[in-house]
């Protein structure tokens, strides 16, 4: 049985790879074809969709029957948002993200390259 997290990821992948909107039924068919034999119920897809809607990743068009869903932003934009947060270039950086390497000044990068060549030669 797939976890809720995996299902959310599969649903978002399906929405990101579509230009327009999809209904819950269409989404289930895509999940079935991409996941092979595992059956996913439409109700499960609807649950996942409303969770994603609450988190602000999915928009729902309620004017049509059945409801149509689309992703709020593209995959690349989401990744760029994350990177802005990580690299400290987001306007509001509160999260104490412990990065392996923080910002490096050009001078420091030069020192590092010198140290690096020394380490390789010895």
């Amino acid at each position: 049985m797939a976890t809720l997290g995996e299902l959310e990821r599969s649903v978002m992948d399906a929405l990101w790879s579509t230009e327009g909107t999809l209904s819950a039924n269409e989404l289930r068919d895509r999940l079935d074809s991409s996941r092979g034999s595992k059956e996913v119920a439409v109700t499960t897809v609807l649950t996942v969709l409303s969770r994603l809607e609450n988190k602000g990743f999915v928009e729902r068009d309620r004017s049509s029957r059945p409801h149509l869903y689309r992703s709020v932003t593209t995959r690349a934009e989401h990744t760029a948002d994350l990177m802005h947060e990580v690299l400290g270039t987001a306007p509001d950086r509160e999260a104490a993200l412990a990065r392996f390497i923080g910002q490096v000044s050009p001078e420091e990068a030069e020192t590092l390259r010198t140290l690096l060549s020394g380490a390789h030669n010895s």
Partner: protein
């Protein structure tokens, strides 16, 4: 009471200015980062305690001969709406200042905790949507981005280490293992809690030059502690090379978002160089007697203001 308040004020001043300055410049912390981290926390706590304690003991002088008697007397006067004979404006001002300062520091800590938790959980749910677990390590995720970055997202039940495609492409297998061990050490030792405490102290007292210095010193010590754990997974040179590769790669990466001028001033100076130098020069760890002395001093820093407050 007056003597105690003067001694506490002097202690607060010493801990606010000369002591952090000397410690930030000292060379030994890189040889015993864990011990130094304890000392920094003790300085910050003792500094706050003596600053607020000095104001309280001074303000309570007309109410009694010691803190406990004074506090009882103060409460009954507060409910009666009266002031004891001999009470003056300066003392009442000191009491108000103590209340405001305590509230300000606690609220700021709470606010920083709530904000970073909110941002962290949103960040985590995005990471979960955007990336699949790395094969073999379910708590490691790989993000599809060319900038070489690695970081960890601490969580109560779901801590995650995130690597970028750029980082995986830049490093070889043993270097990658060193990076993952480094991030896992941050998570296992709960470093984010110390970082958040010092960040909130800094944002509560932005005009206080030492707060910035303390935050940077603590950030560097936490990195060194994680490096020490990573050294157990690989050798020193591999780890140093990984740090240097990622550091110089990040600086020259054309795909990295531009730093805005507002953030430029906040770049922590020298977080990377000292770490690499420390790994390559084979420093000896601080002797256990020296570490014992530092830990004793850290304990004394907390005991002295407490004794002054309660007993005198």
């Amino acid at each position: 009471m007056f003597a105690a308040s003067v001694v506490l004020a002097l202690l607060a001043l010493t801990l606010a200015w000369p002591v952090p300055l000397v410690l930030a410049r000292a060379a030994w912390p890189s040889r015993a980062p864990g011990t130094a981290l304890v000392l920094w926390q003790s300085i910050a706590l003792a500094g706050g305690l003596s600053m607020i304690g000095s104001l309280v003991t001074y303000g309570l002088i007309p109410f009694g001969n010691n803190l406990i008697a004074g506090a009882f007397e103060f409460t009954s006067h507060l409910f009666a709406g009266t002031l004891p004979p001999g009470a003056n404006f300066t003392q009442m001002f000191a009491l108000c200042l103590a209340v405001l300062l305590t509230g300000h520091l606690l609220l700021s800590l709470l606010l920083t905790l709530v904000r970073s938790e909110k941002q962290r959980s949103r960040h985590l749910s995005l990471v979960n949507l955007l990336s699949a677990p790395l094969e073999g390590s379910p708590r490691t995720r790989v993000l599809d981005h060319p900038s070489p970055v690695a970081y960890c997202l601490p969580g109560t039940s779901s801590s995650v280490t995130v690597l970028s495609e750029g980082l995986v492409a830049l490093l070889d297998e043993s270097q990658l293992r060193a990076v993952i061990a480094h991030e896992n050490a941050h998570l296992a030792q709960q470093h984010h809690l110390v970082l958040i405490a010092f960040k909130s102290w800094h944002s509560a007292l932005p005009w206080f030059p030492i707060a910035n210095r303390a935050e940077n010193a603590v950030a560097l010590l936490v990195e060194m502690l994680a490096d020490d754990q990573a050294r157990r997974a690989t050798d020193d040179r591999t780890l140093a090379t990984a740090i240097a590769l990622v550091g110089s790669g990040a600086a020259t990466d054309p795909t990295a978002p531009e730093l805005s001028w507002a953030n430029r001033g906040e770049i922590e100076p020298g977080l990377v160089g000292p770490r690499v130098a420390r790994l390559l020069t084979q420093q000896h760890p601080l002797s256990s007697s020296a570490r014992g002395t530092v830990l004793g001093a850290a304990t004394a820093l907390l005991v002295i203001p407490t004794v002054l407050l309660v007993l005198i």
